[in-house]
Amino acid sequence: MRVAQTSACLKACLHAELHLARHSLGTRLLVLTPLLIACLQLMIASLGETGAQAQQALLGAEAESTQQGYGFWVDSLLTGLTCLSLLAVAQAAYGLAAERDSGALRHLVIRRASRSTLVVSKLIALHLLIALALFLLLLGSWGLSALLWELGPVIEDGYELISEGEIRTEIHLGLQLAILPLPAALAFGILISVLAQSATQSLTLALGATLGFDVFKASLGDSAGYVFANFLPSLVDASYLGDVARLARGYSDVLIDERLLSLNTWTPLPAFLLCLVLSLIFIQRKSL
């Protein structure tokens, strides 16, 4: 009975969240900006390559495309994911705190949602939006890359250096490792929004902490691997996807450190759970 009630309550809250998301400019930015940035990068790269080819043609050299498209595609994915991870943290940190500032959260708590349900429904809605943004990013950037370049194996002097299958496998692994920390980033944003006194404070704290970690992660050395944010695609990137871009351009010496692979796989989960549990604890005592 209680489970059914909680489930109905969660469903209603999620429905309300998605209704809000459909009409929110912030959501549109979250979903579309990574795709637009990735596409912009691909077009700039294509223009740059066309320019280089034209220059070679003018100099009398044979003008031909020197690279296949996977390298560009992975570069654009990395940019899009960097943008997405920052926007995800920002949206998670801002949403709940802004609704608390405006007082809109009160209606949910009075009418339909326990405080825990409120946090969980926000987290689920954010995951759905991130999934949509990722889908659009992957599909859009792949489509544009395929349009602008040939997607195939790395061939050098007539020999296939790296097969298309190998490239795809590494891209799949790189993407998987880059996406794994996103739930933890969302839960971190939610935790900050629960703890902060206002939406502005929450946004500043969450983005400040994420970007601040970027600056200091090099000096943390090996211990940075125990922080989920180390594996988020970011401005000072340390994710495996960056290596995959090199591999797709023919640098066959790319090797993944097994220890880092393991940390990348398992560090985000406890971070996600910790942030979620702390959010659920602190929201109970928060004045709304």
Binding site: A16, A104, R106
Partner: protein
Amino acid sequence: MPEKLANSTAPVLLMQAVAKSYGSVEVLLGVDLTVTQGSIHGLVGLNGSGKTTTLDCLLGLSAINAGRIEILGLPPARLHETEGAIVAVFDTPSLHSQLTVRQTLQHAATLCPSPSRSVDELMTLLSLSRYGDYKLSKLSLGNRRRVSIAHALVGDPSLVLLDEPFNGLDAGGVDEVLALIQRLNRDHGMSFLLSSHQLPYLQSICTHLSILHGGRILASDSLDALLAGSQSILTVTTPNLTAACEILGSRTDLQIRADSSATHLRLTLEGATPAEINRLLVTSGIEVQALVTEQASIESLFRELTGASADQPAGERAA
């Protein structure tokens, strides 16, 4: 959703010895409040008397330090289990300003298991039809207040809490809201708890009233009972004030008030009638230039209980 209580005197809201402090500042010092099913209950108090804190505690938005609260038999932390039987309209319209009026009401409908009124019906009810596609941020305060009320009425609530519901409304708007509250109370049995500083509006609509002062409820009863216990005041204007005082001072069915001035004698009537006093003064040769009777009202009762000055504007007296 819990069924509406059949017993008309059953409490839908109960606060017992509720205490609340913010740090070292004690705001509520043991508030006792009961709102019965089917009543329109007014809550008045001075600035800082703890009205908003009382509502926040009732709704589970702020934790209490001591005491007990039950709304429809549930503690505030479990209000959501009533699935919309309790709703609130806050003093500042606390809705999503990026949504249009229609989207806002649709959003409220997503939270109701069975919305009792359609969005169009609600917009007509609150005279909002022409603003359906307007964003809330573009509406006047009065219209946003209407949207807040419409938002509250999407489901079929048993108890509606309204904090300063008349703020920002023009005279016509106030009349509409007053009529709507009365109609919903009469036709649907909804109970209301209104906190407002517009004392005349409260007097015109409330069946019950509580006066909150210094963190405590000073008086709480049906409006009729409270006003029956409140005395009428007579102001006599006469050039022979000393002589009038001597004649009236000996009577036991009235009292000369301390707020009398050099030209006006203010009397609390405890059985004496204005006609009797007029006759007595005139037959004693004292010229009576004017007699003004102040009927018992929430305002005079409020002033009497809280000691608020008559010179203060109403908004400051009971905000």
